[in-house]
């Protein structure tokens, strides 16, 4: 179907491989590059690096889907790689769990504003998917310089503890492994976990540390005495198991998880999985090197789904939206993918297909590459707003799990219909080449330049072309930064930037995780017909 030796393919491939290489470099740095001083301090305390702890926690030979590895990559001057936090879905003692670890190699593990957001999002994922959580705690507490963005608001740090409580109420288990300090609010993580293990000598849990205690009451007390392993596991009962070292703590943690029930999963149709017939690496050659160029999403689908088999629905109608059924890692899903702008027919087709999937309890996968709904008088008269609304209504009210992959572009209202962040998809991933914004950079620059021009004309003065050019350039630059996938992933508008070839595994693991929660009640609001 595609000419993989054609000039265009090769040009695209070179471009995309560069993008992915740059992504991998940034990811590598965010994950592993740390000041030597911080690593030495950790080693002196006989502590493992957080990724080492995670690797030992997980069952060997199993996958780990890390979420939001590049969170905060464009914030705080890069002072908080991965937002000082590691989150992912993996297998511990044969159970699917969500793993969440503090990163003590970044400013002692202090929570930046985006750290709190990442942890809240992690626990939201745990609640929506009924995933048990293992917390690997080792944090100095809130990053005091930015406390107003960490502490007070509804979805800031407090939400972490609210989520923990609700998780527990839901019967979803949490285990806390205390490797370092859990201070102030952080103390509530083990406090609100169903099970906790604490490492003797390095782990500590207290609402106020010794300096704060001394300042407040004059009491002079050591870390161990105030909140160490032996005190909490034999006197206060705040923690359940003491461990002599980190290996032992992880061993105990795994034993605890092995006591948990294996989850009963929602039963959806699952066949034997099959590798795609087409090479996923072809995606590099399919995605164009310029966002304004179009490509056929079917080519992408063919490189994600089992056996490259895709049953297209309404193939001749509403052709700018591809709808159809396929298997991903054996799970039957309904796929919606953009091949252009959304028109009346494609919006109606999308709404209808979404209803069909809900009827059949088939999860939905949205592959976004959308610049928006069609505008113009003809379309308004035909009711494009109504039709777009119907699609949004169907999508928002879906009771099946929804997953989104931002493949190339997501602009304006098209983001909404295609299940953008606000629409409670279980998980949302971004490709490195992707751009997201209310509109494209050039379009925005053109719009603002035109507004400025009109303003100048209205004011009756001369048209300062240089000023307009400057405005155009500034606008385009600002948008360029904020449109990029790196910005979006930095702000945690997604659950992680991934290499396009990793999409199949990421979706497979995400779909599997989502089936731990029962499907909701079917039902929609009012469709404006």
């Amino acid at each position: 179907m595609i000419n993989s030796s054609g000039a265009e393919f090769r040009r695209n491939e070179a471009h995309n491989r560069l993008l992915v290489a740059a992504f991998r470099d940034k990811q590598q740095a965010a994950r592993h590059t740390r000041p030597a001083r911080d690593l030495e301090r950790l080693a002196k305390q006989n502590k493992m690096r957080p990724r080492e702890r995670i690797e030992k926690l997980l069952d060997s030979g199993t996958p780990f889907l890390e979420l939001s590895s590049l969170a905060a990559n464009m914030a705080y001057n890069g002072d908080s790689p991965s937002a000082s936090s590691i989150v992912g879905i993996g297998i511990v003692s044969g159970r699917e769990v969500l793993v969440r670890a503090d990163d003590p190699t970044v400013k002692g593990g202090a929570w930046y504003p985006l750290t709190a957001k990442k942890i809240v999002r992690a626990l939201d994922i745990a609640m929506e998917n009924r995933l048990p959580v293992v917390h690997l705690c080792d944090s100095a507490g809130g990053f005091l310089q930015l406390q107003s963005e960490v502490f007070p608001d509804k979805y800031m740090a407090g939400r972490i503890f609210r989520n923990q409580s609700i998780l527990s109420k839901m019967g979803v288990k949490q285990l806390a492994l205390v490797f370092g300090h859990c201070t102030a609010g952080g103390a509530y993580i083990p406090g609100l976990s169903d099970y906790s293990v604490i490492v003797r000598g390095t782990g500590a849990v207290f609402l106020g540390g010794p300096p704060l205690v001394r300042a407040a009451t004059g009491e002079d007390v050591t870390v161990e005495e105030l909140g160490g392993a032996d005190m909490h596991t034999s006197v206060s009962g705040t923690c359940d198991y003491p461990a002599a070292n980190e290996d032992e703590a992880i061993h105990i943690g795994r034993e605890i998880v092995s006591q948990w029930d294996r989850a009963k999963k929602w039963d959806i149709q699952r066949d034997a999985p099959e590798e795609p017939a087409y090479d996923p690496q072809d995606i590099y050659g399919i995605l164009p090197d310029d966002i304004k160029k179009s490509f056929d999403m079917r080519e992408i689908i063919a490189r994600i789904v089992d056996g490259s088999r895709f049953h297209e629905y309404q193939p001749n109608y509403g052709t700018t939206l591809i709808c159809g059924y396929a298997n991903i890692w054996g799970f039957k899903v309904g796929i919606l993918a953009n091949n252009g702008v959304l028109f009346n027919d494609s919006s109606l087709k999308g709404a209808h297909f979404i209803e069909l999937c809900n009827q059949n309890n088939t999860p939905l996968v949205f592959l976004q590459n959308i610049t928006g709904y069609m505008i113009g008088q003809e379309y308004e008269r035909r009711g494009i707003t109504k039709d777009g609304a119907k699609m949004i209504m169907a999508q928002s009210c879906s009771h099946v799990p929804k997953f989104s992959v931002m493949c190339n572009g997501s602009f304006g209202a098209g983001n909404y219909g295609m299940c953008g962040r606000a629409f409670d998809g279980r998980m949302l991933f971004t490709w490195p080449n992707h751009q997201i914004g209310v509109m494209g950079g050039e379009q925005a620059a053109n719009t603002l330049a035109e507004v400025k021009l009109n303003q100048m004309k209205r004011n009756g003065g001369a048209v300062d072309q240089a000023e307009i050019d400057r405005l155009w350039e500034d606008t385009r630059k600002a948008y360029q930064e904020q449109l990029s996938a790196y910005y979006s992933t930095s702000e945690l508008w997604d659950d992680g930037m991934i290499d396009p070839v990793d999409t199949r595994n990421a979706l497979g693991i995400a779909i599997s995780a989502s089936l731990n929660a029962p499907l909701g009640e079917p039902g929609y609001g009012v469709f404006r017909f």
């Binding site: 297998i91 003692s93 497979g508």
Partner: protein
């Protein structure tokens, strides 16, 4: 699994007068005796301590009687109680097995006094041969070669002088001892006095009899013993010899019949000496005359055991004779089973004593349980044991668990079959010595018949367990891992699609 090589060739026309025989023993020998009693149609009675109520020998016998004692060993040494039990149950004979009271003259006398037949020699003979010193004197008096020796007197200096006169090295032994206890080797005059004093105090402590004597220590001695049967009238025959040189802690672990590389004249002489001794003593029933054979061909009388020995099966296998049956027949007054000239030997037999011990830690006794027992079967193989699956192995009894006895047309085949059988044998749940025994049998010196009682010490390094080959080690690790629930869960408890995706990171 436990059939003697062939049934006794002699058909006894006389009926055996014993209707019920009590076995004053336990474990594998009790099971062994019960087997013959069963074949002869004689009722069997087992005795057992409370702790062994469910033991194999107690279940095999037609009747079982509980005997009381603070420890099982103490109960089995309570002669009075055993005789009372025999009388109460109406047994007309007692078979003492080996160990315990089998060489206790007082017991034999008490049994006879109670009107019960003792399947063994009479008390006087037991006493004579039981005392090592009197046995030596008796042997010497009847022209059986004995090692030059010296008895200690009050005058330690005179003793030291006489001992030095024999020449060094010397072996100090307890007169009332056995089983290797109270023995030590002295290589120079300066060590002698001290060694004698220590040996005497040990002997007093273990046997209640502090008498010790010193005799020539033969270097690289071979332990050669002769199985004999006497009719109590002065007639005796031998059933050829056995070699029991492979020992540890002065206890035998491998025995064979006949001895390897023994010149016919030497064998003649040794067996004849044994018969002469036994005939002179008007010995009745089965016994074994033990000799020390030096490299120079000189042999000396060591001691006589007035009972059936642990290693009797190797003799049974090369002669085809059921020794327990012969014992019963003699006790019944039917005399010897055949004339010497009719005694034939066929092939070669080897016995390996399987013990609960760790050869790597100086043969320290081990405990555990018989979690699994898998025994090879062949018509040339006997696995004598009193084991039950799940049985606990404790320090209550001797560490010997079983005997693997193998026959072959010649020594090489017997060795090869023994090694193969030891490889196939699986007794899991307690550390045992079967791999060590296999290494002994495979050692070139053993194959060559270059045996002596220091064999185990001399080849200590060569016999030490080597590291397993990497291939075998990995196989064992995988087999072991698959047997642990934790690994099983780890390997097979991962859900899909994660199990198929395998290790992947994004």
């Amino acid at each position: 699994m436990n059939s003697p090589l062939a049934s006794t060739p002699v058909v006894t026309a006389n009926v055996i007068p014993f209707k019920k025989i009590l076995i004053a023993n336990r474990g594998e020998i009790a099971c062994r005796v019960i087997r013959t009693l069963s074949a002869l149609g004689i009722a069997s009675v087992a005795i057992h301590h409370r702790l062994e109520a469910r033991a194999k020998h107690a279940r095999m016998a037609d009747q079982a009687v509980e005997i009381k004692g603070e420890t099982p060993v103490a109960a089995h040494l309570d002669g009075r109680q055993i005789i009372e039990a025999a009388l109460a149950i109406g047994a007309d004979a007692i078979h003492p097995g080996y160990g315990f009271l089998s060489e206790n003259a007082g017991f034999a006398k008490a049994v006879a006094n109670a009107g019960i037949a003792f399947i063994g020699p009479d008390a006087a003979t037991i006493a004579l041969m039981g005392d090592k010193i009197s046995a030596r004197d008796f042997a010497a008096a009847h022209g059986i070669p004995v090692a030059p020796s010296v008895m200690p007197t009050q005058d330690i200096d005179a003793f030291a002088r006489d001992a030095a006169a024999i020449g060094f090295p010397l072996l100090i032994k307890a007169a009332a001892g056995g089983g290797g206890k109270g023995m030590s080797i002295v290589r120079s005059a300066s060590e002698l006095t001290e060694a004698a004093r220590i040996a005497a105090s040990e002997a007093q402590r273990y046997f209640g009899d502090g008498r010790v004597y010193a005799e020539t220590y033969v270097e690289r001695p071979r332990h050669i013993e002769v199985q004999v049967l006497g009719d109590g009238q002065g007639n005796a025959i031998h059933l050829f010899e056995r070699e029991c040189s492979v020992q540890r802690r002065f206890q035998k672990i491998i025995e064979e019949a006949p001895a390897a590389n023994l010149a016919p004249e030497l064998r003649e002489a040794i067996c004849a000496a044994a018969v002469r001794l036994v005939a002179a003593a008007k010995y009745k029933n089965a016994g074994t005359v033990e000799f020390i054979l030096g490299a120079d061909g000189r042999f000396f009388f060591l001691e006589m055991n007035t009972r059936l020995q642990v290693e009797h099966p190797v003799t049974e296998m090369i002669t085809g004779l059921d020794l327990v049956r012969a014992q019963i027949e003699i006790a019944a007054g039917h005399g010897l089973p055949m004339a010497q000239g009719a005694m034939m030997q066929n092939g070669h037999a080897i016995e390996c004593r399987i013990c609960a011990e760790d050869p790597a830690r100086d043969f320290l006794p081990e405990t555990g349980a018989v979690q699994y027992l898998g025994v090879p079967e062949a018509d040339y193989l006997r696995f004598e044991n009193g084991l039950d699956p799940g049985q606990r192995i404790t320090t209550d009894f001797d560490p010997m668990l079983a005997k693997l006895v193998v026959h072959g047309p010649d020594r090489d085949v017997a060795i090869a079959r023994s090694i193969a059988a030891l490889k196939e044998l699986a007794l899991l749940g307690v550390t045992i010595n079967i791999d060590y025994l296999a290494r002994v049998l495979a050692h070139p010196a053993f194959r060559a018949g270059d045996l002596h009682t220091g064999f185990v010490a001399e080849h200590r390094e060569a016999l030490a367990v080597g590291e397993p080959a990497p291939e075998a080690l990995h196989q064992a690790l995988i087999a072991a891992a698959l047997g642990f629930r934790e690994f099983h869960d780890l390997a097979f408890g991962v859900p899909e699609p994660h199990a198929t995706i395998g290790r992947w990171r994004n």
